[in-house]
Assembly symmetry: C2
Homo-oligomer: 257 residues x 2
């Protein structure tokens, strides 16, 4: 019997035009047949948003690489995963990889991340899934220093899967050859929500998001931010179940009736 090559679905939130997604496809194409299904347009900060009341279209683009097919969807990263599974891939993929994101998704960023929204979607569908992000926002970022690590993690996940209900959020330090890989937890923190205020030509104010991430535990040695500062790749296991189970008992005493 002929061995079937693994089937790999790749998506992102920076769109089909971002170099990161093609780098990711390059990293893993020796491991299986690759379907890239990416948003037509950038969807940073789109979290697990999905299109509930409008039409979605699929467009196949020409691919220059054997074993890699390219598609766009006019929607969010979650739409890409859902519609790929429904109407594009020939069978359930062996893994879904998202990224490589142009910018960090460490710590609390996972909540807002379109990269990780796609990963959580795949995980809820029972497919091993990993999001990759490079700590560099530029579309000209250099991915070459970490591609071997990305390929290693992808091959490991393809070979052994992941625990049920758990996906991985991988962040990669920029501009260095990583020292290694550390599995750790997400740093607790918050964003300072500073908006820059403008006046439009009619004198009416509008606001534009800015601000920065405040790490509430900069010295905690078991966190992703800590290991990224040490030039390691951070791997945070992320659960699809957000229930705060430790809080159930106390809250039941307050609220049950």
């Amino acid at each position: 019997m002929e061995n079937i090559r693994p089937l790999i679905l790749i998506t992102n939130d920076d769109s089909i035009n971002a170099p990161g997604i093609h780098q990711l496809a390059d990293c893993v194409r020796s491991l299986g047949d690759v379907y890239v299904v990416a948003p037509e347009n950038p969807h940073s900060g789109q979290s697990a948003a999905l299109t509930v009341g409008g039409p979605l279209r699929i467009t196949e683009l020409p691919s220059q690489t054997d074993g890699v097919r390219l598609f766009t969807v006019n929607g969010t990263p979650v739409d890409c995963v859902k519609l790929a599974l429904h109407a594009i891939v020939p069978r359930i993929p062996d893994a879904v990889f998202s990224g490589i994101n142009h910018g960090s998704n460490s710590g609390i960023n996972v909540t807002y991340s379109g990269t990780m929204g796609a990963v959580l979607e795949a995980c809820m569908q029972g497919i091993p899934a990993v999001g990759f992000s490079l700590l560099h926002h530029s579309l000209k970022a250099d991915f070459s220093l970490s591609t071997a690590f990305v390929a290693t993690i992808a091959a490991q996940v393809l070979a052994k899967g992941l625990p049920k209900g758990v996906c991985l959020n991988v962040n990669i330090p920029a501009k260095v050859i990583p020292e290694g890989i550390k599995v750790c937890r997400a740093t607790t923190g918050h964003w300072t929500d500073e908006y820059k205020r403008y006046l439009d030509p009619m004198g009416v104010p509008f606001y534009w998001l800015t601000g920065h991430f405040v790490n509430e535990e900069p010295n905690a040695e078991d966190t992703d931010e800590y290991w990224l500062k040490c030039r390691y790749i951070s791997v945070v296991p992320v659960s699809t179940d957000q229930t705060a189970k430790d809080a159930i008992k106390d809250l039941a005493e307050r609220f049950d009736s």
Copy 2:
């Protein structure tokens, strides 16, 4: 010294035009001063999406009710919370309430929920926060059977707060007087991602999301879906930290290098 009335921020994902948000304001306005800051347009399924690369505007609308001010933002539920905290409310609110959503946010829905996206945002900012959802999609849904419960939960949260990093996802059965309140965990499940396929007038296909939620543990008596079927209001504590901490040790053995 004069007692200061509590300050309550209310938002939703169904927009300022949805009856549910005005029902929620009515339920809690005896408890404090109310600022309603809601999206201009519906944002169901928008999760924790936020506007990262465009302008946001704030518009104040006339209010018919003493102690209730009404504002819209041309963005997502998360934008409403962020911008309200930055530029609308006079001080940090004592609580943020989101809803009442027209439709269920039980089980895995919390991932996609704009209602809960706003709640998670407030929780990350350290503010006690609760999302309320009625299991009925109609804009003509009858909220009157459960308003006393909503007011009770809101008053409890205002009086005693919530554990750090934990917010509440409250779902309310439709068309019945609830039997009571149960604190429980989110049901594990997934959506069947069925899309309806159409051809446009040019013969080009497009897709529209449909499908339904598959409860993977219909008999688990500690889940929200179970208690909702028993006509109880379900209260699920939700964590802002999605790290799957139980998985760290095993995965470290596989990936650390």
